[in-house]
Amino acid sequence: MARKNAARATTPEPSAVRPTTPNTSVEAAPKATPSTTPAAATTTSPSSTSTVKLSANSSPLAVAGAIWEKYQKDTPQRTKLIDVFMGFLVAVGALQFVYCVVAGNYPFNAFLAGFSATVGQFVLTASLRIQTNPANKTEFSSVSPERAFADFVFGSLILHFFCVNFIN
C-alpha cells in the first residue's frame, strides 16, 4: 500500500521533465517489483524508444513488434497479470463461440450466459486495468485503486448472479 502510494506520488515528476513522450514514461513508473525505482524508470523509457528505431514509414508489423517489446519492458507485473487474465477470458470466449458455431447453440440461454460471463468479466477487468493505470490518474480523480478493485468485485458479483440465474 505504502509502496504504491509512493509510486503514484513520484509519477508526475518524470513526465514533467520529458515533455516529448509523456505517455510512454508514465506508463513505466508503477512497477510492482521493488527493485525498480523511479530513477530506473526514467532511464529505461528513453532507451526503449531508441533501441526500436522506428521510422515514419515502417511496416505495421514492425510497429507491432516494437509495441510488444515496449510492453514487455514497461508494463508492471500486476498489470501483466491482469492482461494474462484478460487473454484467458478472450480464449474461453472464443472457444465458446467456436463451439456454438460448430455444435449448435441449442440451450441458447446457456450459451449466452457463458459467453456474456466471459465478455462481462473481460470488460470489468479492462475497466479495472484502465482505472488503476497511473497514466489515467487525472481522469479518475475520485477512483483510487482500492475503490476500483471494490467496483470490480461489485460488478463481478452482479454479473455472476445473473449468469447463474440465466444458465438454468
Binding site: T21, N23, T24, E27, T49, L54, A56, N57, S58, S59, P60, V63, A64, A66, I67, K70, Y71, F108, N109, L112, A113, S116, V119, G120, V123, L124, A126, S127, L128, I130, Q131, N133, A135, N136, E139, F140, S142, V143, R147, A148, A150, D151, F152, F154, G155, I158, L159, F162, C163, N165, F166
Partner: protein, 754 residues
Amino acid sequence: MSTTAKSTLFRDPASTESVRSILKVVILLTIAAAAVASRLFSVIRFESIIHEFDPWFNFRASKYLVKHGFFDFWNWFDDRTWYPLGRVTGGTLYPGLMVTSGAIWHALRMISLPVDIRNICVLLAPGFSGLTAFATYLFTKEMKDSGAGLLAAAFMGIAPGYISRSVAGSYDNEAIAIFLLMFTFYLWIKAAKLGSAMWGGLCALFYFYMVSAWGGYVFITNLIPLHVFVLILMGRYSGRIYVAYSSWYALGTLASMQVPFVGFLPVKTSEHMAALGIFGLIQLVAFVDYLRGQVPSKQFNTLLRALVILITVISFTGLVTLTVTGVIAPWSGRFYSLWDTGYAKIHIPIIASVSEHQPTAWPSFFFDLNMLIWLFPAGVYLSFRQLRDEHVFIIVYSVMASYFAGVMVRLMLTLTPIVCVAAAITVSSIFDTYLEIDSPEEPEEDSESKKAKKDKKETGGFLSSKAPFIGIYSITSKVGVVGAFSVYLVLFVFHCTWVTSNAYSSPSVVLASRMPDGSQHIIDDFREAYYWLRKNTAEDAKIMSWWDYGYQIGGMADRTTLVDNNTWNNTHIATVGKAMASREEVSYDILRKHEVDYVLIIFGGLLGYSGDDINKFLWMVRIAEGVWPAEVQERKFFTPRGEYKVDHEATDTMKNSLMYKMSYYKFPSLFPPGQAQDRVRGARLPAEGPVLHTLDEAFTSENWIVRIYKVKDLDQFGRDHFAVSAFESGKKKGKKGGMAGRAPGKRGRRVVRA
C-alpha cells in the same frame, strides 16, 4: 427557492451549508407532497378506482400475484382471455409494476398495515411521481447545481405531460417507468462523470428494473449508446466513458435477458443492435487509444490504417453472414412507424388504430408543457455553452425525444423530463444572473467596477470564461425580469392544476356530466353493465366485444373474453372485426364456432358519448379486411359519395352489419315516430329500426352506453333463425314461402348446424 436561501444566509459558511441542506430536504418533501396531491383529483371527485383500459389488466394481474404468489404468477397461463387460444400471461407481460405493488403490499402487511391491494394500485402512480421529482432533482444537480435541481423537481412534479399518465388510478407501466427512466439516466451520468464501475453496475441494475417494467426501455437502450457515440465522434473518448459504458452494457444486457418477455431480443433484434455495435466500437476505441499511448504518432497512423482495414473487412463479413443466415431479425412494426409515420396506417392497422399512437397535434405541446416548451430551447442552448460530457447527453436526449414526441402522442411522456430539466436550467440561470440584487454587499454607484469584478467571480463558473462579462446594473431590469418570471411560474402552476383537474382526472370508466342546473351527474353505465354480467351470466360465459373492452370485462365482470388490449394475435382480432362487420348469417356462424354466449357493444348515440363502437367501426372493418380482403371491404361501408353515414343514406352493407343492427336495435322506439336521432353523429335515423334474428337483447344500461346481446341457441326443430322469427311474428306462410316485407334473399341461405 434556494436562491433566497443563498442570499439571506451568507454570514457563516458552515451554518449556511447546513441550513441549506435542511431547506433542500424540506423543499423536496414539499414538492413530493405537491406532486402526490395534484394527482388525487380523481379519487376525491369520484372514488378510489382503477382507470381506463390497460390498468384493469395490471390490476387483475396484481390481484393474481398477491393471491397465488410469485411463482404461480411467473407461470401463469390465462385461459380466460383470448378464448379459445388462451394467453401465456406470465411470459408476455412486463412484471415490474405488479411485483412492485405486490412487494409494497407484503411490506405493509409485515408492519401490520393490511391495505387493500386496490388502494395500493390506485395510489402507486402518485407515490412514484414524488420519487420521480427526486430523481429529476438528482439528474439536474449533475447538470448545473442544486438550485436548478429543485426547480426541475418542481416542474417535473406538476408538469401535465407526466401527470397525464400518473394520476391516481392510472395503474399503468408508465407509473413507475418514468421514475426508473430518470433514475437510470442519473446513474448513467454519475457513472460517466466518475468513471466508476460501481455506478455503471447500479445503472445496469436500475436498467434491469426498467426493462422489467416498461417496453419503453428501448429508449434507454438506444439513448445511452448514442450519447457515447456522439462523444466518441467529438473526440471526447476517455477511460471514464469506457468504464461506464462497458460495465453498464455488459451487466445491463445480461440482466435484461432475465425478463421472460424480453428474452433473447437484446441479441436478436435491430432495436438493440446499436447498443451492441457501440459496445464493440468502444472496445476498439479503447484498444486503439491504448496503442496510441505506446507509439509515436507517425507510426500510430500506419498502425491505425492497417487496423481500420482489418476491422472493416471482418465486421462487414460478419454482418453479411448474420443477415443472410437470418440471425438478426428485422425491425418490428411499431418501430417502423416511428420512422415512417404512414407505415402503420398502410401495413398494420392494429397499431394505427390506437389513438395514442397517432402523431401529436402541435397545441398539445403547449397544453402538456405550457411555458416549459419555450424555455426548453434556451436550456438546450445553455447546455451548448458549457458542453461538458453530461451536457451532450441533454442535447442528444432533447433531439431524440422531440422527434419521437412529434411522431407519437404517447411519447410526449419521454419528452417531458428533459423539457423540465432544460427549462429548470434556463430559469435557474436567469435567477442566478438577476437575483444578485439581494446580495448584502450591494455596491454603491462609486464602486461599480468592483461590483462588476465580484459578479464576474461569482457567476464566472456558469458563463463561459472567454466571453466578456456583462453585468446587470439597473435595479429596474432586475426587478422587471425576476418579477416577470415569478408571474410566469405562478401562471404555470395555475395552468398545470387546471389541466390536471379538467383533462387528466377522468377515470373514463365513470363519466361525469353537468346537469342543466350545473350540478354534477355521474354516468356509471360501464360498471352497471359489467356488474350485470358478473351476476347474471354463467361463470364460464364467453363474451365477445371489440378488443378495447377486453381488459375491463376481464377485470370487472370476470368473464372470458375473445380479444383484449394485449393485441398479440391480429387474426383473432380480425375475426371479431369480421363478425361485427358481416351480415347476420355470416356472423352467427363465427359466433357459434367460437362458442360466444354474449356480445357486448358500446353505443353512445343516446347520450352523445363519442368513443363508441360505431365510431370505431371503420377500424374493425379495416383490420378484418386485412385478413379477409374478399369478404369484408371498407369501400362498401361508405356511401357512393364517400361518406360514412348511419341514417337512411347508409349503404346496405352498413345497415346489414351486425354492429349497426346491435347499435340501433329498438333505438327508434325511444323517440316519437320518425324522430330518432343519433346524438354523436347528428343523424336522423330511419323510422324502421333494424331487426335481429340470431341475437336476443339481454341488457341495456341506463343511458344505453353498454348493450349486451345473448347469442341464440340453435333452434330445437332445426330451422334457421330467420324462419323462426318469421314464424313467431305470425307470418306462417310455410317454410319455403317468401316473407312479407323482407327481401327473399335475406332469408338465411346458410343454414347453421353445430
